[in-house]
Structure formats: C-alpha cells, structure tokens
C-alpha cells in the first residue's frame, strides 16, 4: 500500500490518474452521444425515454455511472492539486512570457477549459439528471398499435403515474415513462441555456484536442505506427465530431422544434 501511495503522490502518478480518468470520461462521451442521438428521432421521445429508463435502472450501467461521477470528481481534484503544485514551482513569474510562440493555446489553458466544463457538468446534471431522479419531469404514455405501427402519445397527470411500465396487450404496445424528452425540449427553449451549451461544447472541443493525445503521452504510449491514429481521433472525433454533435442537440430543439 505504501508503495502504491508513493506512485500516486509522485508527479508521474498524478499524471497517470489524470490520464486514466480523462480517457474514461472520453469513452463515456461516445456512449452518451450515441444514446442521445435518439433525441433526433421523430417519435416524440419514445425511444429516448425508454433508453433513459434503461440507463438509470440497469445495474451494470448504474455501477459504471457511479464510477463516472467519481472520475469527474477525481479528475477535477487532481487537476487542482497539480495546478497548485505547478504554481508553487514558479513563485516569481516572468514579466514577459511568449507562450504562444512555443505551445498551443489549448495546452496552456486546460485549467480554464476544465473549469468551464465543470460548471457545465453541474448545470447539465441539475437540469436533467437531478430533475429526472427527483420526479420533477412530466410523464407520458405511448400506445403503439403493432399492426399499423401508429403511436398515440398522452401526457399523464402526475398522480396517475407510479412507475415505468412496458407491455404488449392485444397487439398494442404500452409504455409509460418519465418524459425526459419533454424536459429537454422545454429546457432548450431558453436561448441563454442553448448559448451556454454551445459554449460548453466549444470548451469541450479545445479541452479534448489537447487532452486526448496528452493522455496517451502520459501513459507513455508513443508508438510511431499508432500515434497518427491517436492524433486523428483526438482532433477529428473528440475535438470536432463529438462536440458539434452534442451542440447540435440544443440548437435543434431551439430552432427546429
């Protein structure tokens, strides 16, 4: 134990923690994005609400989600510890410092970008996660006639809804669920929230353009054959595609719904 403690308190050990939690959070983003693409289905949120129920009630996923919350907290705390340590390493600063001539802007501003993301995550979770878990979202019933594939949607009065049900009765599929979809549509009617989400995703982009490849460097992975793939993924998938796809969600609801 004392030896592993030594590793974690060393400079390289702290970097290891940052790297592993960061990569875990990156892998979550992929899953989160794929799931949320269901917001774009034109089914009044049926698939999305069904998925939201599954994600919050399937035990393995619940375990992973707690790991995820822990990762966010650990990543932020270690970032703070490392930053304080780094400040101490240069007590007297330079009068002139031309960082832009030897390094990328994102690499020098990971702390600021990370802080924006932390505020974003707190806002995001209180908007959706907290409301979903504390019964502050509306409820909905979907009845789908399996012969004609016609779905009728009815809003449920809070008192009538007890818990999620999904069954098929007489060739009619009935799903009663919390209507997170409606909560999303409702939240993204506010322009300032949409603007905040787009800003958050811009921060995510810059954070990951540096962070993704940086995590592999920290792990000591710099194989010449594979590093171009890492760089490609870091810039194009994590820096461009994922943030843009996420940002498209509030924009879609604001402008098209």
């Amino acid at each position: 134990m004392s030896k592993s403690k030594q590793v974690l308190s060393s400079s390289l050990g702290k970097k290891l923690i940052m790297s592993l939690t960061g990569l875990f959070l990156c892998s979550f983003l992929v899953v989160h994005l794929i799931g949320n693409l269901q917001l774009f289905y034109n089914d009044q949120g049926k698939a999305f609400n069904d998925y939201a129920y599954f994600m919050t009630h399937f035990t393995p996923i619940k375990i992973i989600s707690y790991l995820l919350y822990t990762s966010i907290v650990v990543h932020a705390i270690y970032a703070l510890v490392v930053t304080i340590h780094n400040r101490k390493a240069r007590p007297v600063g330079y009068a002139v410092y031309r960082g832009s001539e030897n390094s990328a802007w994102s690499s020098r501003n990971m702390g600021i970008l990370g802080t924006v993301l932390l505020v974003f995550i707190v806002t995001h979770m209180s908007n959706f996660w907290w409301k979903y878990h504390n019964d502050s979202v509306p409820y909905v019933e979907y009845r789908t006639d399996l012969k004609t594939n016609q779905t009728t949607v009815t809003e449920l009065v809070a008192g009538e809804f007890t818990e999620y049900v999904s069954y098929v009765d007489n060739e009619v599929e009935v799903i009663k669920a919390k209507d997170l979809y409606k909560q999303v549509a409702f939240a993204f009617k506010e322009w300032y929230l949409v603007a905040f989400y787009v800003l958050g995703m811009a921060a995510l982009s810059f954070h990951l353009i540096h962070g993704f490849k940086s995590a592999f460097q920290t792990l000591g992975f710099d194989n010449r054959k594979y590093i171009p793939i890492i760089r490609f993924l870091g810039i194009w998938i994590f820096g461009v595609v994922i943030p843009i796809a996420f940002a498209a969600m509030p924009l879609y609801f604001y402008f098209l719904k």
Partner: protein, 256 residues
C-alpha cells in the same frame, strides 16, 4: 558605423535569492549585428565597470553552444527568439535598432537566483547523481563491436544524450517542469544495453529526486521541445513515463 544598433535593455537585477529583484534599464549603444548576445552584454558590462557600477551577473562558459551554462529569458523566451540556439549562439542580427529587450533569469523555485541573471541549477546535478550513471567494471577495453545494438536505437540514445543540461525546458514550461531534461537523461541509458542493470531503479530514483527538487508537473504543452537548443524530443517524456510506471507497477516486485 553602419549597421550598428542602439538598444534599450530592461535587465533583472537581484542581489541574491534572499532579496527581491527589479528591472533596471540600460542603454546599449553601437552594438554590431555580428556580436553574440553575450558579447553585447560584455559591452554593457565594460561600460558599467568604467562607471564604477556593479556589472550584470550572467552565466556563460564555452560560448559555442555545448556546455549549457548560458541561460537568459529574452523577450519572453528562453535563449531568445530563435529556435535551436543557446544564448551564446544568438546573434544581435536577430534584433533591430531601437528595440527594447527584456532580460530575465530562468524562473523556477528549483532554480534559485544566485545573482541577477544567474540561477543555481545544481538541482539538475542532484537528479543526475540520483541515477544518471551506469556501473561499469573497470578492466580491459571492450571490443568496439562487442555489444550488438541496432543503429536506429544507438542513434536515438545519442540524440537523447545531446542534452546539455541548460534548463531552457524548465524555463519555457508554464509549470516549470524538468521532465524533458530528466527524460532525456533516463532515455539515453534506458535505450542502451549498458544501461539495463539500473534501468528501473534509475527511473524511480531520478523521478523521485526531480519531485523532491520542487519542479512542476508536465502538462504536455510541448514548450520545452520547441525551446530546447539541441532539439530533445517529447517522446523522451513518453519513454520516461513508460519506464517509471513500468518500474513502479510491475518491475519492482518481479524478482523473488
């Protein structure tokens, strides 16, 4: 004289590491473009001595880019505006007439100011002493071809070994991290057959010493690589991470 320049220098003056320093402005007149930056400072110092003032204290030795003694943070960058040069190799033609040049020492807690622009870099020596060596038995001279090693690996080790220990990497890094230096020193031995005996104890000892000296944590900005006068690569840091984590997490407990 044609082509000579008049410059304004803002130089950091500090008595020792116990006192606070401040910038003092000097005029450097009639500076030839062919002078090196250090020769320009010599001219200024001669003038100061003539006036009975305390000359500016700065480090230098070989003045040909091999010893790593010269330092100086010039207009916001270690060793001045050019890449791949030390301050002694920096010519005044990189500046223009009438320019103001701000000259500061390397700034890091682990490099305390000795006086003015000279800093104490013995932290690097202590890191070297912690593990930057190989145990070689004395005896007959080994045959030059006695130890097989691929040319590419030998070249890479040689590239790491070109680090002159100047500390520009620490000076450039926004975190005052010494990881480029330490990783170069770890790499040159980790790659060579002669370095295998102490391979894992070395990585642990040198990293521990680096941390004890109070250098910052690397955040992979790459500023060190860009400012290193001999072009030490960031891949050295990746290798150091690999060596260290491998040592700590696996190799340490492998022998029974």
């Amino acid at each position: 004289m044609s082509g000579n320049m008049n410059l304004t220098l803002k130089v950091w003056r500090q008595k020792n590491d116990k006192t606070r320093g401040k910038f003092i402005t000097y005029q450097a007149n009639g500076i030839s473009q062919d002078m090196s930056f250090l020769e320009m400072l010599d001219v200024v110092n001669e003038d100061l001595v003539r006036k009975g003032e305390d000359p500016i204290y700065f480090d230098h030795d070989c003045r040909e880019g091999i010893c790593g003694m010269c330092s100086l943070h010039i207009n916001g960058r270690p060793h001045g505006p050019k890449q791949g040069t030390t301050t002694c190799q920096l010519h005044m033609r990189s500046f223009h007439d009438g320019q103001t040049i701000v000259i500061e020492p390397w700034r890091a807690a682990a490099f305390p100011v000795i006086k003015d622009l000279a800093v104490d870099r013995t932290a690097f020596d202590r890191i070297q002493h912690a593990g930057g060596y190989v145990n070689v038995n004395t005896g007959g001279v080994p045959d030059a071809n006695g130890i097989p090693i691929p040319k590419t690996v030998a070249d890479e080790a040689f590239e790491s070994a070109t680090c002159i220990g100047c500390g520009a990497c620490v000076a450039a890094c926004k975190n005052a991290s010494a990881m480029l230096f330490v990783s170069a020193k770890i790499s040159q031995y980790a790659l060579l057959p002669q370095g295998q005996t102490e391979r894992y104890s070395r990585a642990q000892a040198m990293v521990a010493q680096m941390d004890a000296e109070g250098f910052g944590n690397c955040t992979n900005t790459g500023a060190c690589e860009a400012e290193c006068p001999v072009g030490i690569k960031l891949t050295n840091i990746a290798r150091m991470n690999r060596e260290y984590l491998n040592a700590k997490l696996f190799k340490e407990e492998e022998a029974h």
